[in-house]
């Protein structure tokens, strides 16, 4: 089992770059109408999932909402499988059956991509329940947006999670908006983390633009959970640079606000930290970025060239076959 604190930071920076460049390509391909349906980009929030994933084991469960491309990539799903999924191709991470909002990758313990706001928080309770039931020391990372915290399923799940002392890290990616509704207009609390207090779940606020802070906080909480099963809540403050989905010009916020966050960019920050410490040269950074861009471009080619499932296959996925017991 790898020790999270040894996870190479340069590698993690490369992952953040991959997510960024992947999303930029996805945006371009969406505009070229190669991608259908809804498409929610993760640009700006990369440090949240990369930091959290860097802090846990590969066999820990992760589950998230529909803004999920970054989560799958961070977990190890290939850019090819992700882009092919957006294209609806058979080589996609769910064979083109789930689409942008429903990425799944069982091999990498990525338990979805869930598009009904709040509805996956009870599922996270179930994943963690299963680890506890089997007496494993896995933790479950459950990501959700600030928009999910006013949903009944979220509240029911938090109570169950606290009541049964389930090993879940509840990670609220507070990007200040649910579509066009700012947290101020949706939530009666001064700060989101106070939701946890109502369920007796220890909570903390984390700077989601700072990879190291996210990683260290998640690592600390995960270690405590593995010793003695309990939940934790992290309000991770972050920002999405793009609109809610591809059709959203985001006119509900100011350019100044966006600029402020852009200057605090998680990739620039980690790069600066590593450069300052002599762990990364400019040339090395450029090479990483070039590689990320190339992988994103490759994924488009891969997706374009991939086949689709034959239509008769629609009948194969309503029911799992067999009555295995």
């Amino acid at each position: 089992m790898h020790r999270p604190e040894q996870r190479d930071e340069v590698e993690m920076l490369a992952m953040m770059l991959l997510i960024r460049r992947f999303e930029e390509r996805a945006s371009q391909q969406y505009q070229a109408q190669k991608i259908g349906g809804f498409c929610h980009l993760y640009i700006g929030q990369e440090a949240v999932v990369v930091g959290a994933v860097a802090a846990v084991r590969e066999d820990d469960y992760i589950i998230t909402a529909y803004r999920d491309h970054g989560h799958a990539l961070a977990r190890g799903t290939s850019a090819n499988a992700c882009m092919a999924e957006l294209f609806g191709k058979a080589t996609g991470c769910t064979q083109g059956l789930g689409g942008s909002m429903h990425f799944f990758d069982k091999k990498h313990h990525m338990y979805g991509g869930h598009a009904i706001v709040g509805a996956h928080v009870p599922l996270a309770a179930g994943l963690a329940f299963a680890s506890k039931y089997r007496e494993e020391d896995r933790v479950t990372l459950c990501f959700f947006g600030d928009g999910a915290i006013n949903q009944g399923s979220f509240h029911e799940a938090l109570n169950l999670i606290a009541l049964y002392k389930l090993p879940v890290i509840l990670i609220c990616e507070n990007n200040l908006f649910a579509m066009g509704t700012s947290v101020k207009r949706s939530t009666s609390l001064k700060q989101i983390v106070d939701r946890a207090e109502g369920y007796d779940i220890p909570g903390d606020i984390v700077d989601g633009m700072n990879f190291r802070e996210v990683r260290d906080k998640v690592a600390e909480v995960a270690a405590s959970i593995r010793k003695d099963s309990h939940p934790a809540f992290l309000e991770v403050r972050t920002y999405r640079y793009r609109g809610h989905s591809m059709s959203d010009p985001a006119s509900y916020r100011t350019k100044d606000e966006l600029e402020k966050y852009r200057l605090d960019d998680p990739i620039i920050r980690l790069r600066a930290q590593l450069t300052r410490e002599g762990k990364l040269t400019n040339e090395q950074f450029d090479a990483l970025d070039k590689k990320a861009k190339q992988a994103a471009l490759e994924s488009v080619k891969f997706a374009e060239q991939s086949p689709e499932l034959p239509v008769e296959d629609v009948y194969k996925y309503s029911y799992a076959e067999g009555n295995k017991s």
Partner: protein
Amino acid sequence: MREITYRQALNEALAEELARDPNVFLMGEEVAEYHGAYKVSQGLLERFGPKRIIDTPISENGFAGLGIGAAMTGLRPIIEFMTFSFSLVAFDQVVNNAPNMFMMSGGQFNIPITFRGPNGPAHQLGATHSHATECLFANAPGLKVCTPATPRDAKGLLKTAVRDDNPVLVLEAELLYSSKGMVEPPDEELLIPLGQAEVKREGSDVSIICYAQTVPLALTVAAQLEEEDISAEIVDLRSIKPLDEEAIYKSVSKTHRVVIVEQDRPFCGVGAEVCYRIQKNIFDELDAPVIRVSQEDVPMPYNEKLEKFVLPNADKLMSAVKKVCYA
């Protein structure tokens, strides 16, 4: 064979599956310390302990979803709804999460979960507590729905449901928990496949297609019809989905006349689908139009006389049979 109640039969099914497979657990409101609101889980806490027989707060959406998440990892949860009227607050989990996961994940995650509990109108519980939910759930591809009417079917179908790799709803008949019937002894494994109807009574003049609480009703009416020289065949669907079309067509091809008696409501009810399939596939076998007997299309009233009027009852069924028999 020995005679036990429907409730005991379900209890045996739960106990046998819990004993057989450590991945099985039972979760719901009042299932452990209270032994179940309808006492179906009597004695299970004592035998299997609190790790596997788990009381929940009143949070149907929460614990239904917890079950689905646990099932994603290969556990086999049995989630009890105190009644299926309350499953409506978990509708999103049961209809939008459980059956969609296998398709959405490209076949990576199947959901081997059982949702069970009493379903269908009981006595004078009023509109909120009287739902027959089978048509709601049968509408969702990815779910299986069964509706046992006898102790034997209850045991055999529940055991099969727990072993199925998909989400299965076992809609127990609220009014039949204390009814008795012959069931194989406990040392004999009883598994009844989903999607197999059973002819509960042979007949030659008319097919009465029924399920759950309308099965005893149909049997009573059949006995009365006998006295009037009308021989009714009683086809108990047992499973709504998958639907045993062959058994239906076989009976109808013999009698050429059909009445469908269902416990749910007429608009988009189970009978509407059965009726459609009969006319589409074996139109030439019919000597009369198919008649459906179901609830009246109104929210359920509390008043006893009015409730009786709303429900499918012997008088309605009797006259429907006579109508298709031109008697």
